[in-house]
């Protein structure tokens, strides 16, 4: 059984007990525990079930590389699936639940899959779930979804209760990894004066060197770590961050760091994760190395663990994984585990060293402690189901004939070490195969390169393949100094700490154990624990022609789980290489992509949630709208009132009421969102003649003109009223959603094409609150407000005036989008609400009625005015809309003119704008198509037109619409059919698009 030892645990505070639950059972751990060490201390070896075969699984590793022990953490709004127990720090009240089992972890129905494992090989889904096609949607997909998957998705009705944030930081040297190599590199760079940030993903400095032993400067590794950290803390140019993982390296020295602020001590209101967005000159990757499992039968049974992980649990947390631990290895490092366990008084029945010649100094030390060491021996298979009960021993060079069986309850395996090259590789750093040490290492000659052609990532320590303590420290010191030099600092000569570590014999590659294992053993030898990929699967993929490592990965799903193959990658590709008879470097690795381990979606979103999810633009009158029943609709980032609801009326009733009141007496519209761009300069007229299809240079000062703006291809982009403010100054009104785009469009042409034209633009949209005072009584209410002459002679239609209205500086534009007598009044935004209130007060006697965008839309449709985004969709030119009157024939050029001359644009069969009146008075469905005779080549019904906007007109008491119809303007009076979705016909008559006041008498009074 696994248990807490009486002594030991360098990270443990035995004085402080912490209570938590696992699958609802209360358990106790200590401060300093990870969830993994606490579970083991409570003899909870089995922690989950595997993805495909639902096999019992226990923890394998002790760090970020853990593939098996994933749990759902928390509950409700704080539930999070697939959390690694090895990187979860224990806190009081922690709730964890195991995943992928039903009905319980101990007894699982899905485990029956395991019995059929030979029928579920690689590519199973591709081969089986193929025919008949119709089965895919209703039979296969639901079945696969039901049986696959690790953690559950959070409840769809809950929202993450926590908040997150970003932080932008800049430095010369970013050191990723706070082990002894990272600290030494930071020290070397920091001493040279570089601005340094060090990120360590765990809660402790020093990495795994303190566990692995050896001495630095004659003292313990812990002492060296403590001293170096305090020296670094004293350097003002060095910043140290614990619980902060270097997640990804990107171009231009951009790095994402993932800082877990309160995961270990949840607190309301404080950010849970902080995403560091760092720009750095140089990156030192001191990311350490990960131990590899060995592929033998039963290597996934709970109790089989990485040798270094068993050592970590003993040394760091005072936890023994088993009473009797068999050690199996291809290198010297695993002897450290045997020695540690023996020294703690635990049994190590045997060390199986697959190498014929065995180990060096450490092996001798193990033997001296009385441990039995067997060279050239291997595990034929592990015995046990939910827990290891023993191992069968064989010769490594044979086929697995059992020589002896040994009872044990844990197996410590070590297939060698792989440098963590992920961050080195993210931006294109290349790897080389170090055959002597059986590992891929960063290729120093081919680092990821920046814009200047120089490398910007420097690997250090064991991440660079330096596995010996002294060599790793020297390597890190070099990395730190190189990084400082590359960022313009002058590092001092190295003063290296002196380190000593036991000398080691060479590793031998053991990709299969035993070497000649038959298919039965290979089918039980796991490569990728999380995705249930075995040696036999990869061999099958190779047999079936998936020779590229990237193809084999996707066919077998090797390395595609949440751990991204941290343990399985090298073993998998070595197996593939073996099957193909190729060299490992010829097969190569799959691509390492960020993030290093999964980071939370919340961290990516940062502050963008709730009120700060997205900037919502507010007009100066927004509060009044909110207080007066406005139902809002999004217009760009604005929220404009669609209508104002009174006394429980429906939206439709509100819109009708607003229209009738406006046409009957007096309406009020907040038009502040309209874009307003000032264009000024000696060449401004010439410039606007290019921007608009019509002539703006000839517009007299004091007058307004409606204009159309097209893009280079001739398509209608925006429209609005242009006002001549002064001899060299125009004010261009744009649509609400188009202001920024139109301004950018203008600036682009000015800056890239007509840079020598003397024109300045300024977007003054937000300077003014603009209020449309509309209806037969509009003039009366402005006269009542007083201060400006607004009579028909002084201020006729399509003119403007400036003055003081109701004591507020104002510009009045006499323009109309409703067909009524209408004044748009612009006042400085900070007087906007005051002006609105004054109009409401003065207009009370006329039953002044604020109206929303829907009333605006209906009134303009009644007048046959087009709406950008309704009548246009990026494929419509002004000629389609019968707007030829607004296209100047006199100008030699304007943006879009050439495009409009193309053959497809001048095609007479382009659909043209007409009005549509349903025969029965109903409202045509939005976006409906008019059908024509026959079918097209795809067997679809031919069409001859479509509805672009459609409304109920309260003015006319019937449905009205506009649409684009084939030869429409020549077919006045003809009836065409716009079938509903259910196929029933709706007949509509083609009419003039102007339904109301065709002569324009009402707006021009």
């Amino acid at each position: 059984m696994s248990t807490r030892l009486a002594k030991g645990g360098r990270l443990l505070d035995r004085s402080k007990q912490i209570s938590f639950t696992f699958n609802g059972t209360r358990m106790t751990g200590n401060a300093g525990d990870t969830l993994a060490s606490a579970l083991l201390a409570n003899d909870q070896m089995m922690m989950g079930r595997s993805f495909k075969y639902h096999r019992p699984r226990g923890v394998v590793a002790s760090g970020a590389e853990e593939p098996n022990a994933l749990v759902g953490l928390g509950s409700g709004a704080r539930f999070e699936p697939n959390q690694r127990v090895t990187t979860t720090e224990l806190f009081d009240g922690l709730e964890a639940g195991s995943q992928n089992h039903w009905p319980s972890l101990e007894f699982d129905i899905g485990a029956v899959n395991s019995a059929f494992a030979r029928f579920l090989p690689a590519g199973f889904y591709y081969k089986i779930f193929k025919y008949p096609q119709s089965f895919w949607k209703h039979v296969y997909e639901p079945f696969i979804r039901q049986s696959a998957g690790l953690g559950k998705a959070p409840d769809k009705d809950t929202y993450d209760a926590d908040r997150y944030e970003h932080f932008h930081a800049f430095c010369d040297v970013l050191v990723i990894g706070g082990g002894v190599a990272g600290l030494q590199a930071a020290f070397a760079a920091g001493r040279a004066g570089a601005k340094v940030i060090v990120m360590e993903q765990t809660a402790h400095w020093g990495g795994r060197a303190p566990v692995d032993g050896g001495t630095i400067n004659g003292g313990s590794v812990d002492k060296f770590v403590e001293e170096t950290v305090s020296e670094l803390e004293a350097m003002p140019n060095v910043t140290l961050r614990l619980r902060c993982m270097g997640a990804g390296v990107y171009d231009h020295g951009y790095v994402l760091g993932y800082e877990r602020l309160t995961d270990h001590a949840p607190q309301d209101g404080l950010p849970r994760h902080r995403l560091w967005r760092v720009r750095t000159g140089q990156i030192v990757t001191a990311t350490g190395a990960i131990e590899r499992p060995i592929s033998f039968a039963g290597n996934d049974i709970p109790g089989v663990m990485l040798a270094a992980a068993i050592r970590d649990y003993a040394v760091n947390y005072g936890v023994s994984v088993g009473d009797r631990t068999v050690v199996v290895t291809s290198n010297d490092d695993a002897y450290r585990t045997a020695i540690v366990l023996k020294e703690q008084g635990l049994e190590v029945p045997v060390v199986l060293d697959a190498r014929a010649n065995g180990g060096g100094e450490l092996a001798d030390r193990a033997r001296a402690l009385g441990i039995r060491v067997e060279n050239g021996k291997a595990i034929a298979k592990v015995k046990g189901g939910k827990r290891v009960t023993g191992v069968a021993i064989c010769a490594q060079v044979g086929e697995g004939a059992v020589l002896e069986e040994i009872a044990c309850d844990a197996v410590a395996m070590s297939g060698g070490w792989s440098p963590v090259v992920h961050l080195w590789s993210h931006c294109g750093g290349k790897l080389i195969w170090d055959a002597a040490h059986c590992m891929f290492c960063p290729d120093g000659d081919n680092p990821p390169r920046g814009a200047d052609g120089n490398g910007f990532v420097i690997p250090a320590g064991s991440a660079n393949g330096a596995m010996d303590l002294a060599i790793a420290l020297a390597d890190a010191d070099r990395a730190g100094r190189d990084a400082a030099k590359a960022t313009g600092h002058s590092p001092a000569r190295a003063t290296l700490p002196e380190a000593e570590q036991a000398a080691e014999n060479a590793i031998e590659p053991v990709w299969m154990m035993p070497q000649g294992a038959g298919i039965k053993l290979r089918m039980k030898a796991w490569l990728d624990y999380q995705n249930d990929v075995k040696v036999s699967d990869v061999q099958l993929a190779a047999q079936e022609g998936f020779e590229s490592v990237e193809h084999a990965k996707r066919y077998t799903t090797l390395g595609m789980a949440t751990d991204q193959g941290k343990l399985s990658n090298i073993n998998g590709l070595a197996t593939l290489a073996g099957s193909l008879g190729a060299d490992i470097p010829a097969v190569g690795t799959t691509t390492f992509r960020p993030p290093y381990t999964p980071i939370s979606m919340g961290a990516i979103a940062g502050a963008a949630r709730g009120a700060t999810f997205q900037p919502l633009r507010r007009t100066p009158i927004q509060e009044w709208h909110e207080e007066n029943g406005a139902f809002f609709e999004p217009v760009g980032h604005w929220r404009r009132p669609y209508c104002y609801l009174r006394n429980g009326e429906s939206h439709g009733a509100a819109v009708s009421r607003e229209i009738n009141a406006t046409r009957g007496s007096l309406g009020l519209l907040d038009a502040s969102t309209l874009g307003k761009i000032v264009v000024k300069g000696p060449d401004a007229g010439k410039f606007l003649d290019m921007m608009y299809t019509n002539m703006m240079s000839t517009l007299p000062v004091g007058k307004c003109r409606y204009g159309l703006m097209c893009n280079e291809n001739g398509f209608l982009m925006d429209d609005g009223v242009v006002v001549r403010m002064a001899e060299d100054t125009w004010l261009c009104h744009t649509t609400s959603g188009g202001a920024d785009h139109v301004h950018a469009h203008m600036e682009e042409w000015l800056q890239t094409e007509w840079w020598d034209w003397k024109v300045y633009t300024a977007n003054v949209t937000e300077q003014y609150a603009q209020i449309a005072v509309v209806g037969p009584n509009a003039r009366k209410v402005l006269e009542k407000l007083g201060g400006m002459d607004v009579n028909a002679e002084t201020l006729p239609f399509m003119q403007w005036a400036e003055g003081t209205l109701a004591g507020i500086p104002a510009r009045i534009f006499r323009i109309s989008f409703s067909g009524e007598l209408s004044y748009e009044v612009a006042v400085p935004a900070s007087h906007g609400r005051a002006f609105w209130d004054k109009v409401l007060k003065a207009g009370a006697e006329f039953d002044v009625t604020p109206y929303g965008t829907e009333a605006l839309h209906v009134m303009r449709a009644e007048k046959g005015f087009i709406m950008i985004g309704d009548e246009t969709d990026g494929t419509v030119i002004p000629q389609d809309l019968g707007l030829n009157w607004a296209i100047s024939k006199k100008k030699t050029d304007y943006i879009g003119k050439r495009g409009q001359a193309r053959s497809h644009m001048t095609d007479p069969t382009r659909w043209k704008l007409v009005g549509l009146e349903t025969v029965d008075g109903s409202v045509l469905p939005e976006g409906a198509y008019a059908v024509a005779e026959g079918n097209n080549a795809n067997g679809q019904r031919n069409v001859q037109g479509r509805v672009t906007s459609t409304y109920h007109s309260p003015t006319l008491g019937r449905g009205i619409a506009m649409g684009l119809v084939l030869n429409g303007p020549e077919r006045m009076g003809e009836q065409i059919n716009f079938p509903r979705v259910d196929g029933t016909p709706v007949m509509a008559k083609i009419v003039d698009p102007v339904f109301y006041d065709k002569e324009g008498k009402k707006q021009n009074v």
Binding site: H166, F167, F170, T239, L270, A607, Y768, P828, A829
Partner: protein, 191 residues
């Protein structure tokens, strides 16, 4: 005559620093040829300062003059001086190619006050700007973005930082500053 009102009614919040909406300020966008003697003289007369270098701001007792782009300046001055100054600039520059727009009402100014290092941290949570004292000091201005909106900021002195954004998104910026300045969420990078 009505008085100009604060967009957020003078909103204020205190976390690890204090964020407060400032009363309306006068602001003039001024575009022209920085090399022209007449333009330089007019700027000097209006602001009491020469045209600042790239990403620099000049503070005088008359006004704050900021570099915005190679042909654009921002003049910040008392609200009631804006119209007159705009008129004076127009008169001075008459006959040359320039643009002087009163944008006082288009923007909102917030002031962040408190411990110098913490003011820098708050901004660094939101803007992709090196806020270390070596990289950003009194006399510097950055025209950048704070999360999803355009903004500009400069230090009045070590313990006061002014932030300007468009009026329509003032509520967003205030909320963002408030939630980012929660006590206990200090980063400690500049401390």
């Amino acid at each position: 005559m009505s008085n100009p009102v604060n967009t957020l009614g003078g909103a204020k919040t205190t976390g690890f620093v204090t964020v407060a909406e400032m009363p309306p300020h006068g602001m003039i966008t001024l575009r022209g040829d920085f090399a022209a003697a007449k333009f330089k003289a007019a700027v000097k007369k209006a602001a009491g300062a020469a045209i600042p270098a790239q990403r620099k701001v000049a503070v005088t007792d008359k006004a704050t003059l900021s570099w915005m782009s190679p042909d654009e300046l921002l003049l910040v001055l008392p609200y009631d001086k804006a119209a007159a100054t705009q008129g004076a600039l127009a008169a001075e520059l008459d006959g040359t190619h320039f643009l002087a727009e009163n944008v006082s009402d288009a923007r909102v100014m917030f002031q962040i006050t408190g411990e110098a290092a913490l003011i820098r941290e708050l901004v660094a949570k939101l803007a992709p700007v090196d806020m270390s004292p070596e990289a950003f000091a009194v006399g510097d201005i950055r025209r950048t973005h704070l999360n999803q909106i355009a903004a500009a900021f400069w230090l009045e002195d070590d313990s006061r930082l002014n932030v300007v954004c468009f009026r329509s998104v003032a509520r967003y910026l205030f909320d963002l500053l408030e939630v980012s300045a929660v006590k206990g969420s200090e980063v400690g990078l500049f401390a």
